[in-house]
Symmetry: C2
């Protein structure tokens, strides 16, 4: 999956797409079926499904004469892991900076004294 982080997040940034994903999370559905339960046209649904498919959040499967889509939980899990990793790195650097700021003397040995 070459879909970059902002792209995947953008795909998840639309309420209608979350509606679609929620429905697909409960079981496979076709675009027409989705259009029946959601307040948008089948064509709009189709565009959303295409976006979601490009970032790997849904997969399509030809079933008879219709095409059913299903939500790929693993993709969401992968994204979650990436975000978590980045979040942790932010906090780590933040802590390091605070340490430096609050440490008056440049005794830069690794003595993680929690003198808060």
């Amino acid at each position: 999956m070459t879909a970059t982080l902002p792209v995947v997040c953008a795909a998840l940034g639309d309420p209608t797409r979350w509606e679609i994903l929620t429905r697909l999370g409960e079981g496979p559905m076709s675009a027409s079926a989705l259009a029946r339960v959601l307040p948008v046209s089948r064509q709009a649904i189709g565009k959303h499904l295409e976006v979601l498919r490009e970032v790997g959040l849904v997969e399509s499967e030809q079933r008879g004469r219709e095409v059913v889509y299903l939500a790929v939980g693993a993709r969401l899990g992968a994204l979650a892991r990436e975000l978590d990793r980045i979040g942790r790195s932010w906090e780590t650097r933040l802590l390091r900076i605070k340490e430096l700021a609050e440490r008056p003397g440049p005794a830069a040995s690794e003595a993680p004294e929690a003198s808060d």
Copy 2:
């Protein structure tokens, strides 16, 4: 934080905002400082920072005459946990459906009549 999932994801769906977040993840910066290193105007940066602040991804702090912003890793972590939970639920239901489909005998205890 009342920011709904699609809203937070939308905030993360813009490349420029990721640039900002990345810089802020390395240490606190002011809007002007960000505008100096990024190819957009200070005002544009300001709008992005406002969006990020509304969903809790950055926090601001008055430091002397300037306002510095810093990335909130915990928020990203919280989002990651939510996404992971949802992803898992999708996979669980998927497995259940596949089980039902591949189980020839209706030996299921609660078989909610799939009469389609």
